[in-house]
Amino acid sequence: MRDDFLTRFLVEFVVRATVWLIERIGSSPFVDDVVHSIYARLERRGAIVAMQSAFASLPHAALSRVRERFAMFSIAAPDALDDEGAPLLFFTILYVARIVVMLMFLQVQALYMHGPLRLQEGLTIAIGVWLFIIIKGWSRLSLAVALAAVVYFHSKYGTPNWLAIVLAVATAAAAFISIGWVIRELCVRIAETRGVRSEIAIVCLAFWSIELLRFWIIAGTQGTIWIRLLGEVAATLLAAYLVAWRLYRYADHQGRRYPELYQKPSDALLREVDRAQARNGRAARRRL
């Protein structure tokens, strides 16, 4: 990005707007600590780093307020506020938003019995773009290809024909490639930060599978309103189940205080390893 006055002014404006948002949604200790640091970054390293940090701090700000507000969270939620917990909660929030929009559309469709699902498509693409932002490298490219294909055939082929189905299959292939990348990237990120927690990968897989199913149904049956509605309802029910399952797992983790997340070797095993290493060392010295 160019480092001219206008760019810097615009990025600083975005930082200040994001900080304003953080101040509105975060708890007071979080806001004081984090906003001070964001402004320090702005002075020290320039606006881009401060902007990234401000964006990344937004979900934490929301969760800090949730934690402050609800005793249940304040007792057991700190581990949910880490790098992986925040995106997971975002998934949940996005799915709830999706269900609300879905219900609105069902109302509208019940009235008019036809018409494109433009707002919901927009929301789906927004979720895709959001994933696109949080994921790096080649996975971004494959996601971009998948999204571009989806947007293309949705805009160009509104009626059922063989080309729409071919494009749907091509999109499915591109999306499946992106699933692989998404899962790999997320697993690497999780392994780097907290140790293995495979649910996020499963959530991603389920998310893309549902979207894929939906796109396939829409692309293959354009114009058949009842099948489209059936696809929408099935996808939404699956999404609701996913949210419920994720919340259940979350509550379960809180209740257990995460014993299964930290499968570290026991002290006895570590002592045994130490003894074995000492024996190996003595044997090596004897050989020398």
Binding site: D33, V34, R41, S53, A56, L58, T193, G195, Y262
Partner: protein, 106 residues
């Protein structure tokens, strides 16, 4: 032996706190940045989690931020327990490096 459950962010934060007593999130970010991309919200959360485990303590200080507003921000210190945890983490990391390079333990 301390049961070690430190993530990489937490280890870097403790390492930063071990270098100088009484640091704010801005100070920690400045130390960690050259080694790993880390954001302020993540640092705050990691510090809260480690405070609950007894690895860090905090106090409040009134400072003036770069936007000219005065704020009560947290100043964090590492505890003896936290020092033990980061020492153990560093030893384990060194063990991994030795193993990777094929160097026998001393």
């Amino acid at each position: 032996m301390v049961k070690n459950t430190l993530g990489i962010n937490e280890a870097l934060i403790l390492a930063s706190l071990g270098r100088a007593d009484g640091q704010t999130i801005a100070d920690i970010a400045k130390h960690v940045e050259p080694h790993r991309e880390i954001y302020d919200g993540s640092i705050y959360v990691a510090l809260q989690r480690m405070a609950e485990r007894g690895y860090v303590t905090s106090s409040k200080a009134r400072v003036t931020s770069a936007d000219g507003r005065r704020r009560d921000i947290g100043v964090y210190q590492i505890t003896a327990e936290g020092q033990r945890a980061i020492d153990q983490w560093a030893n384990e990391a060194a063990g991994v490096t030795r193993l990777r390079l094929g160097v026998r333990p001393a």
